[in-house]
Symmetry: C2
Subunit: 149 residues, 2 copies
């Protein structure tokens, strides 16, 4: 798919991140798309909203998609490079592709995923970068808690 298609998918993840920010949460969003382009699930970080440290955006989107027999051909779209936890999710379940808004404010496990056969598309989106940079500057303690730093 051309990057233009991925950017339309990224918009779903960005909308989730912005909703999270409006709720006082951590602005990271994600969406899981099927091999045929169907939206299977979408979600956002819910650490603050639900008091749930396991609810990273990618996990929330994966959960929202419910039980699936196979993840072959699916794409996880996320506003930010996936942490080790979410990278492990992608590897374990055989999600085929990860589309990443940006990896400048945080660099997770996407090189490890690429080395293990996952297709990585890094969009370097300036809106994603600005949203995360502003958040990390405003709430460093919350951000560090979210990544166990």
């Amino acid at each position: 798919m051309a990057h233009g298609g991925y950017e339309a998918w990224l918009a779903t993840a960005v909308a989730e991140a912005r909703s999270g920010l409006a709720e006082g949460g951590i602005p990271i969003g994600a969406a899981l798309y099927g091999a045929d382009g169907t939206l299977l699930g979408r979600g956002r970080n819910r650490r603050v909203q639900d008091g749930d440290p396991s609810a990273h955006a990618e996990t929330a989107a994966f959960r929202a998609a419910g039980r699936q027999r196979s993840y072959r051909g699916t794409t996880m779209v996320t506003t930010l490079s996936p942490c080790w936890y979410c990278s492990g999710l992608v590897r374990q379940f055989g999600i085929s592709r990860v589309v990443i808004g940006e990896a400048e404010t945080f660099r997770g496990g996407h090189d490890w995923l690429a080395a293990n056969g996952v297709e990585i598309v890094l969009l370097d989106d300036s809106d994603c970068r600005a949203m995360m940079r502003d958040f990390v500057t405003a709430r460093p303690e919350l951000w560090h808690e979210d990544i166990g730093a």
Copy 2:
């Protein structure tokens, strides 16, 4: 800690696994203990019970522990070698130690964790092995779904 101490902790995870089995679920249990030995959270695989593919045992125990500022000194006890998803959880949040009931029926990412500074204690518990072996034999399709195989 002597292995006898870890086996007492493992009993908590085994009790979770047995509860899951009784519910018709996948018999994997886990518990997160604090540096001082306090039980922070416990949980079991809830794929069947909640229709939630993200609820692996370790993630469920981590979630039950709620928000924590640091995981330094904590121990994740699990009946089965942690898959990549749960191994990623341990690495990202800096959980110090993983105590594993068995790694014979499934071998996840615990060598990777050891290589990245996590203390691994493999108990090779015969009850854990038998419980998982019986389950995989009885419900192979459900087990494969749970690990994306």
